[in-house]
């Protein structure tokens, strides 16, 4: 066995969930706390590195920047200053294509928090719930509605149609705003703003979403990600991305093991044997499906065309043996 092959085997045999846990923890600490160490990654990060966590954050979520820029008065937005928006988008895009939706599955602090809540539920022994197929199809559209509103409302503010207090409307309802600052001891976002009617409305909506977030994430794996407009935004831009999830339908037995472990309940991952690029708009590229696939090479993660993590029988057996042996 060559050295490269043995490295490949070791990677494919990894205890994936444990690996992912530590990687997520690393990114969480990086994005939420490393600001204190002077880390600054810019204002165009394609993940919920929340701007309301003013001191701890390592960079800012692009959705916040983007909404603020879109709400500029139209004379400014459609002038030379608009180039700033374009260059910002360019940087966001470059960040994004490196990891594709891997930003959701590995980096996003809001996603990581949901995974922790899931672990808490698992510890209590309570089972998770799933949507019915009908609900799934219907609810899956919400993220696009939120994405559209995220464009329309700031543009409308710039045009003078909407109240300026709507500010960055998605940030106001985003659970990242209310929850992430809590980790650096900032409780100021968990409050109602009585200054104007709009502010009161938006902050109460924000708190409602926060409540729903905790309840939802407890009963449903990655509850919020299913509705996240960032996920929809990502998907629309994902064509040239470097990190990809590929499927070889001829090797697939449609056993449904991947669908079984999918946090996002994506049925296509198991059932579609024609598509080679299997990442859907709901996917968070967590790669749990690759780890749960027993057919060699049926599912694989590739980076710039090079396979980096591939489903294998050996890896599958190792991981499931570990699962059965745990906590006996």
């Amino acid at each position: 066995m060559t050295r490269l092959e043995s490295i490949r085997t070791a990677v494919n045999n990894v205890q994936f969930n444990r690996f992912r846990f530590w990687l997520q923890l690393f990114f969480f600490l990086l994005l939420v706390y490393s600001g204190y160490l002077g880390v600054e990654l810019g204002k165009e990060l394609p993940t919920f590195s929340c701007g309301y966590n003013k001191e701890g954050r390592a960079g800012m979520c692009y959705l916040m920047t983007f909404q603020y820029q879109l709400s500029w008065p139209w004379q400014k937005l459609f002038s030379a200053a608009g180039l700033v928006v374009l260059s910002g988008f360019g940087i966001f895009f470059l960040w994004f294509i490196a990891l594709n939706k891997g930003w959701c599955g590995f980096v996003c602090p809001v996603g990581t928090i949901q995974d922790w809540i899931t672990s808490l539920r698992r510890w209590t022994g309570i089972r998770y719930s799933r949507y019915s197929w009908g609900q799934f199809k219907w609810l899956a559209q919400i993220k696009y509605v939120l994405l559209a509103l995220m464009f329309i409302i700031p543009l409308g503010i710039g045009a003078g149609w909407f109240n300026k207090d709507l500010k960055a409307p998605f940030c106001m309802i985003c659970p990242g705003r209310t929850i992430i600052p809590l980790f650096t001891g900032d409780f100021s976002q968990v409050s109602l703003d009585f200054s104007t009617k709009t502010n009161l409305f938006m902050t109460s909506l924000g708190l409602t979403v926060m409540g729903l977030f905790f309840i939802g994430a407890f009963v449903k794996k990655r509850f919020f990600c299913f509705y996240c407009p960032m996920g929809a935004f990502h998907y629309l831009l994902s064509k040239p991305a470097l990190l990809r999830l590929r499927k070889d339908g001829s090797k697939c037995t449609r056993c449904g093991d991947c669908y079984r472990v999918c946090d996002q309940e994506i049925k296509d991952i198991a059932d579609d044997v024609n598509k080679k690029e299997i990442m859907t708009d709901d996917c968070i590229l967590c790669m749990k499906c690759v780890a749960a696939c027993p057919e060699k090479g049926a599912l694989k993660a590739t980076f710039a065309g090079i396979p980096i993590f591939e489903s294998t029988e050996e890896g599958f057996i190792k991981r499931m043996n570990k699962g059965r042996a745990d906590g006996k």
Partner: protein, 429 residues
Amino acid sequence: MESETAIIIPIQPAPFSRSRQAGESQDVLDHIVDDFQDNPESMKYFYDLFRRVYCHGEELKHKGLLIGSTCIQTPEELIYAFGATPMRLCNGSYHYDQRGADFMPAKSCSLVKATLGMLNAETVIPKIGKPDMIVNPTTCDQKKKSSAMMESMGYQVYDLEFPNVKESEASRVYWQRSVRQFAARLRELTGKKLTRKNLKAAMNKTGRAQAAFRKLHSFRLKSPSLILGKDAFLVTNAYFFDDIDRWTLAVEKLNEELAQREKSGFKAVQSKAPRVLFTGSPPIFPNLKLPLLIEESGGVVVTDETCSSNRMLYDMTAVDEWLLNDMVDSLADKYLKPCTCPVFTRNDDRKRRLLDLVSSFNADGVVYQAFAGCQVYEMEYRSVADAFNKAGIPLLYVETDYSPDDKGQLSTRIEAFLESLKNRRKQRA
């Protein structure tokens, strides 16, 4: 008069080994063992097992209640978890096939008839005892109708409701519920509780067995072959009734030997031997007629797509959260989603599976066995043949049953088929 002769020559009950069913098994086993060279040393365990159980009628011990099953769709992990032992009742004996003919119309499946015949017989082999319950998944019509017949023989029968469609979400949910009900029934029957711990232990048993099977499966990828198909079928047939831990150990030992064989460059067949994929109605000991004919004629069965072997052991269960609910649902999924049984409305998965097996095992051709009367396999022949035609892979369709009468005729057909495979390979080379 009769009684007088009886007084003079008292009629002794014949020992089991003299019975017809034992004779039938003995013939096939002798053929498997003696008529082939270089049988793997570790196959001895399996030869002995079949000899003891099928030829001498020796009894097998089992733990807890005995739960018979008429199909691979019965989640055996649940049975183990409740401290009971599963046993697959599907039978391959011509003797029992004839005995079972009373229950079914003339043109029906040998396997179903043989199973009924065995259950209705006084000496049941494998002699593991009378099942405390028989689980009958509602798969094909003939098996469905067997429920009432088995009940009339005095068995307790549980109909495990199985969907006809597997693509839809509705069927998946329905089947998950069905499996839960089955678990509830087992609880009632055994008086034990299903816990995370005992289900994990049960899944460990089957997981280890499956890992061993997969290993054996991947050794068969090698060309020229390291082991003959007749031995592989015997191994998986033993899984029907053997103690699962002992079975797994024996297979692991066989795998070690095959690893040795691979290292030493051993060939179980000639390099030119045509490699055959076997599909269709399941070969079950002693009815290994077709695989044996293929291998006597110089071919080798490199893999199969049948419910007595590959389909029974290949697909493994993935669990995300090791909680009872998720484990049971995962098991349910495993028994439904990858299944390529012809009872379903569509057979795209079966066709894809077959094509994948042909290419990964580098098979030269396919032998498709359909038991006369096994309508679902007969009906699927056309679409499967079309798929192979398109892919340019030769297929031999054989309609047969458990009777040995057609052996001569079949042997001619198979020889001709293998010859054509050889020629084809030469031409391509």
